[in-house]
Symmetry: C3
Subunit: 212 residues, 3 copies
């Protein structure tokens, strides 16, 4: 299963890169300066994992200690600044990488919570937070309502991936690696289909008399 870990490592870097690009692009569009762009890129890439690690007691958080997360975030920020037209043309692969990052972060986030001995509910919640926390922090810092709360199946795909990991943990038929791969594939597929067909979760009209 050494190959699997190489795949994980590649997905991890690809996801981190895509998350950082999404942060750097949004920061650049808001006119932030060099430091601001790097800070938002790093926040999107590592913010969710840092919240997870603080909540499960993995101190210091991996997002702060691991050099290649920081390097990837700064590289993505530099690319977004120096090669903006290229990054814009990369729109489609970036969305693919983003879906890869979402899936991997949801699955590994849930796995890490379980490996620290916490229960299934904690693992599901922290799997989602690992996957979407960085994007939520980006939107808070850029002063807008987090996009994942408003549209498209995004956090719900992460929920599916994390749920599969936790459910798989309570059975003895399939080995954990297989469960993780199934979680990854389902989360990734859900996200890609949602992008392709503009799937949204329902939202609800305001009540006409509503002035609560």
């Amino acid at each position: 299963m050494d190959k699997l870990h190489t795949v994980y490592y590649f997905l991890d870097l690809a996801g981190t890169f895509a998350f950082a690009v999404s942060g750097a692009t949004a920061a650049r569009q808001r006119g932030l300066d060099l430091f601001g762009i790097c800070a938002i890129a790093f926040t999107v890439a590592c913010g969710g994992g840092i919240i997870r690690d603080v909540c499960i007691g993995a101190i210091p958080p991996a997002g702060l200690t691991t050099w290649y997360y920081l390097a990837t975030a700064i590289f993505a920020a530099g690319m977004t600044i120096g090669l903006y037209p290229v990054v814009q043309r990369l729109n489609r692969p970036v969305l693919l990488f983003d879906a890869a990052g979402l899936s991997l972060f949801a699955v590994t986030g849930a796995q890490k919570a379980l490996s620290y001995g916490h229960n299934g509910q904690v693992a599901v919640l922290l799997g989602i937070i690992t996957a979407v926390g960085g994007g939520v922090l980006r939107d808070i810092l850029l002063n807008r309502i987090p996009v994942i709360l408003e549209k498209e199946i995004y956090a719900s795909a992460a929920l599916a991936g994390a749920l599969i990991v936790v459910a798989g943990n309570y059975q003895n038929v399939l080995p954990g690696d297989w469960i993780a791969i199934i979680g990854l594939i389902i989360c990734f597929t859900l996200r890609i289909l949602a992008l392709r067909y503009h799937w949204n979760l329902p939202s609800f009209p305001k009540n006409k008399n509503g002035n609560v």
Copy 2:
């Protein structure tokens, strides 16, 4: 004192429910989708307690591990979605429940910080954060200035409740349970009177020449 714990348990659920309804209602009014409404409901109900637990080292936070908090939040979100006219008519009981939750969270938040061996200042600050942290996170996520920083006696009532718990901890006359009940009643009464008579803390006019 078993009865007391039944009362606590009921207040805890009622408060969680009221906090979650306030989150779900605000999220629905902003047009968030199904996931967004559930996420905001859960954040209001559990966010303050999660910050407290991270600060006192109670890992993992009770808000993440306890199934009936999550269940209550999802139930409240479902009700706000499916029975919106009913929830609107419940406006008054929800405000009562909210005051109950505020009081209970302030008192039990301060108690939990003390029981982890921290000093009185930590207990007061974390009592307030337990009580109002969820609402502050709701307003940050919905991209508005936290309402508790602007108007009505809300956090100040939580401060009173937490202060009473901490003061009571330094004396030997009354048992802890009595102190907690006194704190609950004073916090609850303050909040209800503030609602009834529109009590506000002072705010301050901008200086005419003020362009600091």
Copy 3:
């Protein structure tokens, strides 16, 4: 080196005071009430250190346990409310104190992370967060894009100070106290020069065709 610690203590209080004044002033200008002004003042003064302590496992965070931080923040809030014209005239010393606080928080933040046994990257990142985290939280709570992400050399000065502490930690020529003093002076000087000459980091024009 006892004198040094007296200087540290004075800088610490002066920085806390300046940070709290910046929070209280911004909160007053937004029309927050008495509690809101005190809460924002305390958040700016202690928020960065609290995030650092949670990330390095220094539980409970020093910002919550230390009485003179809270007292300084409330004193600064009271002064901003009662003596607003005086505080406005103090604009220049407050900027000096703010630069002092920035430098000290960056240097001591990095030192504290190192003293807990974490690596250089963690120390640099948490040095910056200690120095600027409170200001970022202030801007999030007041519903605006954090000013440090947009303009002036501020976080970059903190980065310089924290980098010097970490670099100094890997050599054996100069004692730690000297390193800290060099870090302080360079961070402070950078910040003051940036204020004096309106130095900004580069930001980047939006691409004309940019609709990512």
